[in-house]
């Protein structure tokens, strides 16, 4: 009887305590951070202190997911747009998009810059097409994408790579 109980407990323990985890440190994180004035916007950081520091947005909208609680939110500021995602009742930074040339990345690239200027500032991209240069941080799962038209930057997007 004791043996039977031991076997059942072992099986239960196996199913209860199996877990997954892990992760590696990002070694190239600086490239994937946007700065507006004295506010540093880092993807995946809690949104509340960043939004407070940025002040009132020009436009705001929220959008529910198809099935889960919480709202994806978008805040439009002068020259850039910031999106958040909900997790466990709190909002986190999902993406930052630079929409006009009144703002620049910390490396000095703004809309209208040439493709060569981007490569000089950021190095060889992880992927390149006629219409984009993309830099990826596998560790923090962030992409920085420069959209191009006729060799000029038309849009800049810091994005968290979702599943």
């Amino acid at each position: 009887m004791k043996k039977i109980i031991c076997i059942l407990l072992s099986i239960l323990t196996l199913f209860t305590f199996v877990s997954c985890g892990g992760g590696e440190a990002d070694t190239d994180a600086k490239k994937y951070v946007f700065v507006s004035g004295n506010v540093t916007v880092k993807l995946d950081d809690p949104a509340e202190p960043i939004l407070s520091a940025l002040g009132e947005p020009r436009q705001y909208s929220e959008s529910p997911s198809c099935a889960f609680d919480g709202l994806d939110k978008v805040y439009v500021y002068a020259g850039f747009k910031l999106q958040t995602y909900p997790q466990n009742g709190k909002d986190f930074i999902l993406s930052v998009e630079l929409t006009d040339d009144s703002v620049a990345t910390p490396e000095g690239i703004s809309i209208g810059a040439g493709k060569d200027q981007v490569i000089t500032a950021y190095g060889t991209p992880d992927s390149e097409t006629d219409t984009s240069l993309t830099y990826k941080s596998d560790a923090s799962k962030i992409t920085l994408q420069f959209l191009l038209r006729d060799g000029k930057v038309t849009n800049i997007q810091y994005q968290k790579v979702t599943e």
Partner: protein, 343 residues
């Protein structure tokens, strides 16, 4: 002694199976009060002798935009929605394949928004479509096509492997619905009666590449071929909602128009037809224009029903006494929920 050992082993095995079965039933999400969309796929199997004129497949834009009871009430057309949250093109294909083993509708309607995704996206959404499917070769193929890198096939066979850690989140719902579930939908339509008007004017983000992914387009083509093989008419639609988050770009629309023309398939993009349909964005949406509520869905269904009847020749079957009785029950349930919201 030997006999005793064998009996002991059998007892241990049986006890283990029963215990694991119970734990699995307890720990899997029930989708009855939260994320109710997760219950939709399994509800189809409650249909006795399924025989529908129209079958809808696709994402939230089908199960929030069309109401089968309205289609019956106004046009005598029978329909079912096999929709689920973020249902991707391969989910839709395998659901269609499985459903066409059970019935042969006259028309299959597919909502094109999910064609923007070329790769598996999210395990939680995969679960909402796949866990509800009955086991079949279609389900096996669907799981294989859908898994993200972190998922395993075994966890679909034994969901306990995936949900064992849910014991920390167990709530009343898990015990109430341990062995049975309520029926939540109206032939796959998940009713939303709230009103939260408005429509965002925030510009969607531009994309580096507007080409719809090859993978999803290949599954669209598989759906087309399957419908052709079964003698079913395929219709492509885009629901009238067009939010900054779930945006349907003009460049995508052009590709679908071209695909439809090249393959002799009808495509209806309802986005520019919202006025014609009669949608009032102040009253006909429950979440600020992202999805339609029941009032908007009824308007769209009435509009689409006319197309199905007049252009696609679906006939009014309301003269069939047996069908009438069946659908009267469905209408009673539908209006009971709809009217309860207004009380």
């Amino acid at each position: 002694m030997k006999k005793k050992t064998i009996i002991g082993c059998v007892c241990i095995t049986l006890a283990t199976v029963v215990l694991l079965g119970f734990l699995q039933a307890l720990l899997v999400p029930k989708y009855m009060t939260q994320s109710r969309e997760g219950a939709l796929i399994a509800e189809y199997y409650l249909e006795k002798e399924p025989d529908h004129d129209v079958l809808f497949v696709g994402d939230c834009e089908v199960y929030e935009s069309f109401t089968p009871p309205t289609l019956w009430e106004e046009y005598g057309i029978t329909s079912y929605i096999r929709g689920s949250a973020q249902q991707l093109a391969w989910h839709s294909y395998y659901l269609l394949e499985e459903t066409l083993q059970r019935e042969t509708p006259k028309i299959v309607v597919f909502n094109v928004l999910s064609l923007k995704y070329g790769a598996p996206q999210n395990e939680a959404y995969n679960r909402m479509t796949l866990d509800g499917m009955k086991w079949s070769s279609s389900k096996i193929d669907a799981i294989r096509a859908s898994m993200t890198d972190e998922e395993s096939f075994a966890s679909y066979v034994f969901p306990l492997l995936r949900f064992h850690s849910r014991w920390k989140e167990l709530g009343t719902e898990d015990f109430t619905y341990l062995f049975s579930r309520d029926k939540l939908s109206h032939n796959g339509y998940l009713m939303q009666t709230r009103v939260k008007g408005g429509k965002s004017d925030i510009e969607p983000s531009p994309l580096a590449d507007y080409t719809l992914p090859e993978t999803s387009m290949a599954y669209l083509d598989k759906m087309r071929a399957l419908c052709e093989e079964k003698g079913v008419t395929l219709i492509l639609i885009k629901a009238p909602t067009n939010d900054w988050k779930y945006h349907w770009y003009d460049e995508w629309d052009e590709q679908i128009i071209t695909y439809a023309a090249e393959n002799g398939v009808d495509y209806y993009n309802f986005i520019p037809l919202d006025d014609q349909i009669g949608i009032d964005w102040q009253t006909d949406t429950y979440d600020g224009g992202v999805h339609l509520n029941v009032y908007g869905a009824e308007k769209l269904t009435a509009y689409f029903g006319a197309i199905l009847a007049e252009k696609h020749g679906l006939t009014d079957r309301s003269g069939d006494a047996e069908l009438n009785a069946l659908w009267q029950e469905k209408l009673d349930d539908y209006y009971a929920e709809r009217n309860a919201a207004n009380e």
